[in-house]
Symmetry: C2
Subunit: 300 residues, 2 copies
């Protein structure tokens, strides 16, 4: 399973980066291959200063070895070995009319000291963070998520959509990071869903990413915007930074377990602003977005 | 003691804000008075878009009531009441040749259910975060810190300078946030230092702030800078954000105990950049700063 899934994310990285380069039309992903001293490594691909993408990364990694102390207490296990691999992506477009997107698909195995698998699970999801609200974009993104889910279980979409809203909640701001999508974790074998079934599910979600995001980019990338709209985008990006550095378990985990910092923090936006006590004007487009972030809704 | 110290920080806030307005020559501090529903409140003063200060705050607060659950486990106590007050300031200058500064002076009392004081302590410090290294500025700042310490104990400066270097360590970057200064906490009564002695010490440090910082601002605020230097400042400000949101106990504490978000996050810089895998050129002024941040040194 681990080899099959690692092969899958390698191919998915190729597909996604080549599709995004085509949409961008100018910038190319720059690749960094890195090794983890304790075992494994990754292939980081970063795009900067494109026509469409101001900054973004589509990264894969596969790491293994002894489970770090911090992860032992996190998982409530003693000495164990592990293997973890995944694809993580974040794209920050230049145009505030084009939403930021994040996605992650990952697989984890834990072994006893004899090398037997004692636990294994999939996790992941994808979610959209716009700066201006185009309801049809939210509906499109969520519809694609739902279609990928419905092929595997009638309740997956509603369950993982809800988890996504809960996970990407910027608690100290009392608002969502974005419009959500899917979030799932610890997807383990059950009588009804074997690991192969989970594999089929997660790869279907992975395969749906381009369909979920690229049509939105194509539709919005040519819309004109003014400096005030750009400013709003940079202020909202500040909230993205706050979520990732204060609340995001994946980011904090990476920072605390001595992950590759530059690959982890590629998620941070290129230009960001913080204003004191900033509030959009009542009745404005900016206030309309905020309203939806404060009260997550059903899109499909 | 609590009334005396609260009166002191009120007056210190007035002194500092009026001195800083004079240095700035353009922007004025805007004041927000806020109440904490559970008891107490604060006076937030923020300056934005000045000649010198792009963004900054000089805030006081005095809060009291039942010790929140999260603080109970933090301090290892059960039901208790508390009083906490302090002055916190952060100033982000526009000109990258002028350093950012942070300072905080605070007092804490804990009570049993009969209202008796069961514990009390002072804490605080002040530290400098430049974007370009002027060694004479570091020496000046640390000399003023040392002078304030030496009047109270011959070992305070070396002890609290070291604690400052340790506290403001951006562990995931393996570098200091800035050039340090002083950091002390849990300053409690001992046979050698009564609470009044600690009061004398902390107010001497508080009184030294203007002398420690303002001459540096006056000296550097007229130096010309170019867009590349400004860019470097914005990238370094990213590290400041990373420290405050990932490592700073005070910030995280405020966010988790439902503090006033806008007063807590006034510490975040106005314009910030994140680049992928950014490194200054070997032998450059930027690399010289980094070298000192990676290897904190003795300035006096």
């Amino acid at each position: 399973m681990k080899d099959k899934f690692y092969t899958y994310i390698q191919e998915l990285q190729d597909t996604i980066t080549s599709q995004l380069e085509e949409v961008d039309g100018k910038a190319k992903f720059q690749e960094d291959i890195w090794k983890r001293p304790e075992g494994g490594g990754g292939r980081t691909r970063v795009i900067e200063n494109g026509n469409v993408f101001e900054k973004g990364g589509v990264n894969i990694s596969g790491v293994h070895g002894e489970l770090p102390k911090s992860m032992q207490s996190y998982f409530g296990v003693e000495d164990a070995d592990f293997f973890a691999c995944g694809l993580s992506l974040v794209l920050h477009p230049k145009n505030p009319m084009v939403p930021t997107v994040h996605a992650n698909w990952r697989y984890f195995e834990m072994y006893d000291k004899q090398g037997n698998i004692v636990d294994q699970w999939f996790g992941g999801g994808q979610d959209l963070t716009p700066y201006y609200l185009f309801e049809e974009d939210a509906i499109h993104f969520h519809s694609v998520c739902k279609k990928a889910c419905d092929a595997h279980h009638s309740e997956f979409y509603s369950k993982y959509k809800k988890r996504c809203d809960e996970y990407f909640w910027n608690a100290h701001r009392n608002e969502a990071r974005g419009l959500g999508g899917l979030f799932f974790d610890y997807c383990k074998a059950t009588p009804a869903m074997k690991m192969q079934d989970w594999y089929n599910f997660i790869t279907e979600v992975g395969d749906s990413f381009i369909e979920a995001y690229v049509p939105i980019v194509t539709e919005r990338k040519h819309i004109d915007f003014n400096p005030l709209q750009r400013e709003w985008q940079e202020i909202r990006r500040g909230r993205y930074v706050e979520f990732n550095l204060v609340h995001d378990k994946g980011t904090l985990f990476g920072l605390r377990t001595n992950g590759r910092i530059e690959s982890i923090l590629m998620s941070l936006p290129p230009h960001v602003q913080w204003r004191y006590d900033h509030h959009p004007k009542e009745g404005s487009e900016e206030a309309r977005l905020l309203e939806v972030l404060q009260h997550p809704k059903e899109w499909v």
